[in-house]
Symmetry: C2
């Protein structure tokens, strides 16, 4: 048993009254988790405290040099009141892999899981019951040493925030419109594209803002070297159904190894479908479209689960996919994944972790 001190709030906040208006990541629960790191001492002082502002030295390195990483996961309320996590061990494994690339000392994954369960259980009253709503979980680590020389920090803070959230896309499973980004680049091999660090997301804001101005919801990133191979879309991994093959870009160092991506691949294979992780160029997608072989396209991510793409624009070519409607593979994946996540179905893969 790990030693996690708990200081309960003396002033519980009002919970959201209308669960249909939760939004995403805007409301926070009564408590948060903190673990500190100091050089020579290691990770120490795990504690759950009332949610509130933290005192930060304005010279803290995370504010200047972006030495920060995060994870994203969810807690789900089952019909019988049970609370589930989905493959949380995978998130903590990836957190440590992000730590390694970003020069942050790794953490004990068992401590991470145990302390997360304590926090979620304490604030389980905040998990919404409305359909497609869940408790979004945000673990993150920031560099806190107050020093302006560029180097790895000697002190860090790990925190977990909880946010009752509605669907990431309020329009739900309605297919989104995206376009192929031709000016900006998200990441390149040798960079940080395969870890969840702030800089990747900051670099992507400009393209995303420009997409929104043109009424597109996201951009599809191409590789930074040849500018032709598909990387990922917004904050999601990308899948294409080409004839009877499901294709997703291989993990070659510049895209995020998504946990929903991994689950989708395993699930499709368990259904006997052919899934290829390989390089796929935008030209191949356009060619398949012209030949009538581009059956479906969808993004995968923790926040949206499955996000079907109804329109994919590449320069002057506007590809309307499956008549702009969600396709059978996307729908089946969404139904099967969410049924496991919310405890409505058997869990043959052993992905679900019960909190209580």
């Amino acid at each position: 048993m790990y030693d996690v001190k708990v200081e309960r709030t003396s002033a519980p906040k009002q919970k959201p009254l209308d669960e249909s208006k939760l939004g995403f990541g805007t409301i926070f629960t009564d408590h948060m988790l903190m673990i500190e790191y100091d050089k020579g001492q290691g990770w120490h002082d795990a504690r759950i405290v009332p949610y509130g502002p933290i005192a930060m030295d304005p010279a803290a390195m995370c504010l200047h040099y972006g030495q920060e990483i995060f994870e994203g996961m969810k807690a789900y309320r089952g019909d019988d009141g049970s609370v589930y996590l989905f493959r949380p061990q995978e998130n903590f494994k990836r957190l440590n892999s992000s730590c390694e690339r970003m020069c942050i000392p790794q953490m004990d994954e068992e401590l991470l899981l145990e302390s997360l369960k304590m926090l979620v259980e304490l604030d389980s009253g905040w998990i919404p019951a409305a359909k497609d709503s869940s408790l979004y979980i945000r673990p993150f680590i920031i560099a806190t040493e107050p020093k302006l020389g560029v180097k790895s920090s000697d002190s860090y803070l790990y925190m977990v925030l909880l946010s009752p959230s509605g669907p990431y896309y309020p329009s739900g499973l309605d297919p989104v419109k995206i376009y192929v980004e031709q000016s900006y680049v998200r990441s390149v091999r040798g960079g940080t594209g395969m870890v969840k660090t702030g800089g990747n997301y900051a670099a992507a804001l400009k393209a995303q803002d420009e997409a929104h101005e043109q009424d597109y919801s996201q951009v599809l990133w191409l590789d930074g070297v040849e500018r032709k191979y598909i990387e990922e879309v917004g904050a999601m991994n990308m899948f294409f159904v080409l004839g009877d093959e499901v294709v997703t870009p291989a993990l070659l160092g510049s895209i995020l190894p998504g946990i929903t991506r991994k689950s989708v691949i395993e699930m499709l294979r368990s259904w006997g479908m052919k899934v290829s992780e390989r390089r796929i160029s935008i030209d191949e997608v356009a060619e398949a479209y012209k030949n009538g072989q581009l059956k479906e396209a969808f993004g995968t991510g923790t926040a949206a689960v499955i996000s079907p793409v109804g329109e994919l624009k590449h320069g002057d070519l506007v590809m309307t996919i499956n008549g702009g409607k969600i396709g059978p593979v996307s729908q089946r994946l969404y139904d099967a994944l969410t049924a496991i996540q919310w405890g409505r179905a058997e869990d043959p893969f052993g992905w679900r972790v019960k909190v209580k």
Copy 2:
């Protein structure tokens, strides 16, 4: 006149007693500057307050998505007690260009300069008088909206910190050893390499840590596409003296447009020297070395001014430059630039700005 409120500290800190032990960016003065931004209101509430921790919501976007930028400059104490800044307008112009790329609302450059002068004058007693020491100035902007959806923030905080600092490299003008980085990539065209944002520095930590382990002080970055063209070194721009030509990589979108870089180019040209801003491959440098034409190599940056490179390693090839000693061009540039900065020489370029 801009309205900048001033709240003086009631508990001034002890100033460093031994100016030879200042280090870089570890000590902060009595006051700091803050300006806030809120959507619909613009930048507001410019104020100088006692230096201290700020209260930050743990969901503030800068801690998750790295939407943050910074600048670096210095205040110099002249022999007669005058206080100077060096081309501060250039820093604020670049700050606004960083804002533009990173989706942060731009600021009034005149307000930035006026409020900086007020802060520096208030804490001018902290400017060290020791040789090569100065008051390092850190303006920065962080995204503060407490929200976990990935988007541009609706609120920001601009701050300026002041730090009395010794030379960036304690060994001073002693030439440094660097090697050509072959695994990691700092940035790629279409990314954020040309702006001062946290993610660029976070991405570079791993290579820097590995360089230190091998007793090298920095790495020389190659371009992310062809992996052969020279980009920059650590946090500095790079110059090579090849025969009688001084060459520095052109600003093609992935390297930082350094203000020392710009000043060095202008100064060399004023001396009648040939300076080329162009693509330069590591093979060309190695070829010049073998032909005896690689006369000098040096980095330029605000922190170090001029940092001569004594050894440049590329795979198995170890290039010892100018016998491992500082060369005449590097030395002349250092002397001329620092003489202008510290007010010891005429300022034919009009680069110096007097604070008081």
